[in-house]
Structure formats: structure tokens, C-alpha cells
């Protein structure tokens, strides 16, 4: 048995214990970024999407070469960014200086006072898409610099729409010419027509869109809701208004159309929809504008150059409004290097870098001038004359009418609540009216808390 009863041994024991304790506590800090204790190193968290990868692999090294300021970029999944921000902010932790935010978190973290205003560092703000700035603003302060926008738009397979046999069959069946649908009713007719047809050796589904529980089904539903003039809340966010006639009509159409999605519709994620488009197994889709680039990748897609985009088909009131997705760059209030962090965030979205990011597949640009950049518009797909950035004109058009998610601090909870009910509606577990009523009741309880 080991004994430390001698004085020397006691001291040895204490020393061993102290070392062990130090090692133990030292290990607790292992997950935190290495603090280099000066203004020349920034720590940032970005989404592992193309816009985060471009920052990590290209722009941050370039910034270090130009300014001497090193930026450590960690790529972390969406939900994990949200979790990390909330816990770090609760502890007023200064480990990270810069965060990549889904814009619907701006009200939540803005209301908590965790983000630094960035109005003073944005270069030529009038060049930004107005909606991209609007969603990054809370309490009259710009709390995030827009990095990328992508409104939900209608994707359609142009090869299918231009196919003479398909056109003739559609004409024969409906009496109408097959054109890109401008209204929800036209689109629904076409979806029913396409569903189950054979094209290029594939059996088609009428359409596809994100529909998985969590946030996917809410994101797709919102494009229907906005196009049907449904607003989920009253103007000052004191009451949930999901049971309005407009919302019921929008939800009914969404639920009816769910029947024409591929098998396993209720599990469809963004990646599943993209994969289906690449395989050519769907005729149309509701997806983010930016995502179209994936269908042009010959390594993964059998439909290179075929997918085109159009604004959301208009609802009965003539409104065409896709749901807006956008990511912004924010600076933590608890950063010890706020000025340096602000400079880097602003630099990422200079006119030059906005184009650079778009060119490298990092989402659609946030600056109006980028939509006219020759560098983007003149590029074609390899061995074709199909413009690589053919989506930009429609994206810019869609941005005129796109609408953001409800902008209030409890948006994430709202999405969870609504998502469960939409899941029940699409599976036929509840009627549209019953599901929306339950969502209303649950959300009103949340609002009253």
C-alpha cells in the first residue's frame, strides 16, 4: 500500500495532487480557442456552407496577408452556432469575436444586447439589397453585415418544359400551353400533370421542397403563406393569426400539393431536394435561388444546365412572395477586439469580396452592383454557352417581393411549434383548421410568457 506519512512523502503527495488538479482544470479549457492575447488574432464561427468555407480557406488567409490580422475560422452547423452563441453570451464569454448568423437570430440576440452595432463600418450601404439590411437590423441598429441572400423560388426543369412531346401532352390534357407557371393554380395543374410521367427514363414527381419536421416544412410553408397574403402574426406580435382565412387557404394548398412529392415527402431536406433535381426525378421544386448551382455540377448532376428558376407562383391575390433566407456576419459585444472584428466583418463584404464570394459558389450576392458584375454574368458552364450565373436576374427580381420570417425574439420557438402542427397536417393526422388552431393556441401561450 502506498503511504505518504513521512514528511517528504506528504509533500510529494500534495505536489502530485496539485499537478493532477492543474491538469484537470487545464483540460477544461481544451475546447476553447487559443487566446493569443493581442489584437492580431480574431476567432470566428461560420456555417460550413460554401460561404463559410470561402471565408476560412480563402478570404481569412488573404486578410492576414494584407493586414497581419489572423482570423481563426471554425465551421459549425447551424443549430450548433445558435447553441454556442446563446451559451457563450450567457456567460459573457469573449472566446469568439465574430459569428455567422441566420438572420432570424438577430431579434433574439439583438434584444438581449449581445451584438455590436455595425452601421459605422459598412462601405456604401446604399449598394446593399434593402431587404438584406432590413433583416440584419434590430432597434434601428445594424447588428449584422449581410453576407448572402437566397429567396425561395420556383425551380423548373427547362428540358422538360421545352420537350415537344410533353408540351403536346399537356396541351391535349388541359387545353393550355405548357409555360412556366405564374400562379399557384397553374402550378398545381402542372404538378398534377407531371406527377407519375416518364421523362428521360425517370418517373417524375410533380414537385419537391423541404418538408421535414424541424424547420424545413415551415420554410416551404412560408412561401405559400406569403404568396397567399397570410401573415402569421398581427403587426406588433401580440397575437398569432395562423387561423386567418388566408393562412388556412395557403396551408390547404400546401397540404394538397404535398401529395405530389416524392415518396418520403415528410422527411425531405434541402439536400434531398437538390439530389432529386440532380437525378431528374422531379419536375419542379421550391428551393433557395443559390442552391441551383449544385445542379450544374457534372460530377454529381445528370441535369447540368437544365434547371432554371422563376419567382414564386402568385397566390389568388396576385402576390408572389418567396420566403427569404439570408446569413449575416455579427460581432460579439463581449469580444475584446471589437474594432478589429468590425473591420474584418466589413471587409468581407466590400464590393470586390461580395463578387468573389458569389463567384466561388458562396451564396447569392448582397450588393446590387454584384448582380451586374461582368465577372459573374460572362461566365458560362464548361463546354457550353449556358451562363453559370443565369439565376441572378430572377434572384434580384424575387428579392423585390421576398418576405422574411417573422422578426421577433421568439422566432425559433415559433418554428418548432408550427413545424409540429404542419407535420401533423401533412401526414393527415389533423385537419388544416385544427392544426393551425393548435399552433395559434400554443404560440399565444408562448407570447404571454
Amino acid at each position: 500500500m502506498i503511504s505518504f506519512e513521512g514528511r517528504g512523502r506528504r509533500l510529494t503527495g500534495v505536489a502530485v495532487a496539485a499537478l493532477a488538479t492543474t491538469a484537470l482544470l487545464g483540460g477544461c479549457a481544451a475546447g476553447a480557442p487559443q487566446a493569443e492575447g493581442d489584437d492580431t488574432t480574431l476567432n470566428a464561427i461560420f456555417l460550413p456552407a460554401a460561404w463559410g468555407t470561402v471565408v476560412k480557406e480563402q478570404l481569412a488567409p488573404q486578410y492576414e496577408a494584407e493586414t497581419g490580422v489572423k482570423v481563426n475560422v471554425e465551421l459549425i452547423a447551424r443549430d450548433a452556432i445558435h447553441e454556442k452563441m446563446a451559451t457563450l453570451f450567457a456567460g459573457q464569454d469573449s472566446s469568439y469575436d465574430i459569428f455567422n448568423l441566420d438572420y432570424n437570430w438577430i431579434p433574439e440576440f439583438g434584444q438581449g444586447g449581445h451584438l455590436v452595432p455595425l452601421d459605422d463600418v459598412v462601405e456604401d450601404p446604399s449598394d446593399f439589397l434593402p431587404l438584406s439590411l432590413e433583416v440584419a437590423t434590430w432597434g434601428d441598429q445594424l447588428l449584422g453585415i449581410p453576407q448572402t441572400v437566397h429567396p425561395a423560388v420556383l425551380w423548373y426543369n427547362s428540358a422538360l418544359y421545352n420537350d415537344p412531346e410533353t408540351q403536346a401532352a399537356y396541351q391535349e390534357k388541359t387545353g393550355d400551353a405548357l409555360t412556366v407557371p405564374a400562379t399557384m393554380d397553374e402550378w398545381f395543374e402542372q404538378v398534377k400533370f407531371f406527377d407519375g410521367r416518364e421523362f428521360n427514363g425517370q418517373t417524375l414527381s410533380g414537385w419537391a421542397a423541404q418538408a421535414a419536421k424541424g424547420f424545413g416544412n415551415v420554410h416551404t410553408w412560408l412561401s405559400f403563406a406569403f404568396s397567399y397574403d397570410c401573415q402569421p402574426f398581427d403587426a406588433d406580435f401580440t397575437e398569432s393569426t395562423l387561423s386567418s382565412p388566408e393562412c388556412i387557404e395557403a396551408t390547404q394548398r400546401w397540404a394538397d400539393m404535398m401529395q405530389y412529392m416524392p415518396a418520403g415527402a415528410n422527411e425531405l431536406t434541402y439536400d434531398n431536394v437538390t439530389a432529386a433535381a440532380q437525378q431528374g426525378t422531379i419536375a419542379t421544386a421550391i428551393q433557395w435561388s443559390w442552391g441551383q448551382f449544385a445542379t450544374d455540377d457534372p460530377a454529381t448532376s445528370q441535369t447540368v444546365g437544365q434547371w432554371e428558376i422563376a419567382p414564386m407562383p402568385a397566390g389568388p391575390g396576385g402576390t408572389s412572395a418567396g420566403h427569404l433566407a439570408a446569413w449575416v456576419i455579427s460581432v460579439s459585444k463581449y469580444s475584446t477586439k471589437v474594432d478589429e472584428a468590425k473591420k474584418f466583418a466589413a471587409w468581407l463584404e466590400t464590393k470586390e469580396n461580395d463578387v468573389f464570394q458569389a463567384k466561388n459558389g458562396a451564396g447569392d450576392p448582397v450588393r446590387i452592383s454584384s448582380y451586374e458584375a461582368d465577372e459573374l454574368l460572362s461566365e458560362t458552364l464548361p463546354d457550353t454557352d449556358v451562363p453559370r450565373f443565369r439565376r441572378l436576374a430572377t434572384t434580384l427580381e424575387a428579392m423585390q417581393s421576398a418576405q422574411p420570417r417573422p422578426r421577433f425574439a421568439g422566432e425559433e420557438i415559433w418554428e418548432t411549434t408550427l413545424s409540429t402542427e404542419l407535420s401533423a397536417i401533412s401526414l393527415g393526422e389533423r385537419s388544416v383548421e385544427e392544426g393551425l388552431k393548435r399552433a395559434d393556441e400554443a404560440q399565444n401561450r408562448n407570447l404571454s410568457d
Binding site: G13, V14, V16, A17, A409, G410, I413, L427, E429
Partner: protein, 314 residues
């Protein structure tokens, strides 16, 4: 009793004097021992005792961390709200169904497999290693694997089903199938764990016991029922308890496959705690949820232990 014996006995109870080298009047100090224990105690206090007490305190407040506001004491309000919350009772139901079926099936399969491997046969070592493999995979990886394999359009399982003329099945997207599918995934991964425990215990049963039973004319089913089960009682208890506790906490595969859906068909208590705590950041409500989960686990484990120990006393 002889005098010499009395003297000897007295000497035995006489307190010992100071040991050579130790100054008289000082109590022995075992600083070294305490010092060695200190890191462990510190670890326990920092990572188990303090968080447990802290979560209890938080559960008595109203606190949403992203608001920047301080927690406000509300007493038992969170618990009262929870007990009236339909989603809470659904999560209890889902969790209990998951735990009961997963652990029961795992036990039956593991027991059967252990009986099969109880006697050596050609290739048994290779097969045993193969059986144990799922247990070595991280649950997150298992969830991801399941999601891809069971995907309706491109997943290999549905492709195989279609190849033999069966219809596409939404294993994870159907409210009726999602929970049984998660149970099946759990069974696939954790049956090997119980198998390992039961096989080790079975191989520790003395051969004489089996031979004696055989000589008495007992059939194998009778030997299993009357000899194996009583002798394996404690290994079974340990294995089942560990699986029970682990199953109550099921989260990884839910996160990777269904995220609580479709609708709320797979919304387990752990998933709900994550959803409330780390999506809406209502930490106080999530803390209360966690305490109710802890109480439920303790109730079940305690009941099981009592039943087993009362059986022993009889």
C-alpha cells in the same frame, strides 16, 4: 479463564502508544491521502454536485438565457406547467414505450445469443466479434447510417424492398413506424452489450451444476429456467439496469434521424429537454424537465432493485 489469558486479552485492548518517530500528543495526519483524493473530490464537486444543485435551483426560476435578463424565482411554477403540458406527457409515453420495448427485446435476443455461444463451435470467435461490432460505433454515426439507409427514394433498404416487389416504406416518416424503427436501431446497436454481459456470466456457471441437473433428468429448458436464470440474476440485473438508464436518455439517434417527428411520434424526454433548452433556450423549463426525467428513472430503477432484492430475501 486463566490469568495469563486475562492479561493477554487486556493487552490486546490497551491503546497503542505513539509509534516510534511520532511526537506524542499529535493526532496522525494523513495529509497525503487527502491530497491524493482532492482532485477526485474536486472533479466530483465541480462536475457532478455543483451542476446538480445548480440545475435544481434553476428549475425554480424563470430564465431564458438569450434575453440577457437575470433568472427570476418562480417556485414550482415550471413543474406545474410541465405537468399540465400535453407535450410533456407525450414525451413520457414515447420514452416509456421506447425503454420497455428496446430493453425487453435486447434482453431476449442477448439471452438467446448467449445461449447459442455458450458452447464453442467452429467460427464462434469470429462471429462473436462481428456481433459486438455495432456496440463500438458512435450512436451519432449509427443515426446517420440509419437515416441514409432508410431514406425512401435513395436508401438501400427501400431499394432492396422495391427490388423484391415490396412497396416503398417511410420508416422514419410514418407516425406509426418511426418509433418502432428507432427501437429496432437501438436493439441493433445495444443487444451486443447485454450479450457480452450475459455470455460472460453464463460461462462462469460451474459445469457441475449443469451436469448434476442433467443427471437428474432435467431438460435444457428446465436447466435454463431453474439453474441459469437464478444464477444469472445479478448479471441480468446489472445489464438491464445499465440499459434502462441509457435508454431513458435516448437522444443521439432521435437527433440524427427524426428530430422528434413525424409530428411528435419520437419526441422522447431527452429530445424535448434539448428542444426546450437549446433551441428556445428556456433553460429553467428544461431544468425542471430534467429533474422529472431523473425522478422517473430513479423510480423505475428503484422499483426494479427492490423487486429483485425482495426476491432474494424470500
Amino acid at each position: 479463564m486463566s490469568t495469563s489469558t486475562q492479561i493477554g486479552a487486556r493487552a490486546a485492548v490497551t491503546p497503542l502508544g505513539p509509534r516510534p518517530g511520532r511526537r506524542p500528543g499529535r493526532r496522525p495526519v494523513h495529509a497525503g491521502r487527502y491530497a491524493v483524493m482532492f482532485p477526485g473530490l474536486l472533479f466530483l464537486a465541480a462536475f457532478a454536485i455543483y451542476p446538480t444543485i445548480y440545475s435544481l435551483v434553476i428549475s425554480l426560476t424563470k430564465w431564458r438565457v438569450t434575453t440577457g435578463e437575470e433568472p427570476r424565482f418562480v417556485g414550482l411554477e415550471n413543474y406545474a406547467t410541465l405537468l399540465a403540458d400535453e407535450a410533456f406527457w407525450n414525451s413520457v409515453r414515447v420514452t416509456v414505450v421506447f425503454v420497455v420495448f428496446a430493453v425487453l427485446i435486447e434482453f431476449l435476443l442477448a439471452f438467446g445469443l448467449a445461449l447459442l455461444f455458450f458452447r464453442n463451435f467452429p467460427g464462434d470467435k469470429v462471429m462473436r466479434a462481428l456481433i459486438l461490432m455495432p456496440m463500438l460505433v458512435a450512436p451519432v454515426a449509427v443515426g446517420l447510417l440509419a437515416r441514409f439507409s432508410l431514406e425512401p427514394t435513395f436508401g438501400i433498404v427501400n431499394q432492396l424492398l422495391r427490388a423484391v416487389g415490396l412497396p416503398t416504406t417511410e420508416f422514419l416518416g410514418s407516425p406509426a413506424l418511426a418509433l418502432p424503427t428507432l427501437i429496432a436501431i437501438d436493439v441493433w446497436q445495444w443487444t451486443p452489450f447485454l450479450f457480452l454481459i450475459l455470455l460472460a456470466a453464463m460461462q462462469g456457471i460451474p459445469e457441475e451444476v449443469i451436469e448434476a441437473s442433467k443427471l437428474d433428468g432435467a431438460s435444457w429448458p428446465r436447466i435454463i429456467w431453474h439453474q441459469f436464470l437464478p444464477l444469472l440474476k445479478y448479471p441480468i440485473l446489472v445489464g438491464v439496469l445499465l440499459r434502462l438508464i441509457d435508454s431513458f436518455r435516448v437522444y443521439d439517434i432521435v437527433f440524427m434521424t427524426t428530430r422528434g417527428g413525424p409530428v411528435d411520434a419520437t419526441s422522447t424526454m431527452s429530445w424535448q429537454i434539448y428542444d426546450v433548452g437549446f433551441r428556445s433556450f428556456t433553460i429553467s423549463y428544461a431544468a425542471a424537465y430534467s429533474w422529472l426525467l431523473l425522478i422517473l428513472v430513479l423510480l423505475v430503477v428503484n422499483t426494479l432493485l427492490r423487486r429483485m432484492s425482495s426476491g432474494t430475501e424470500r
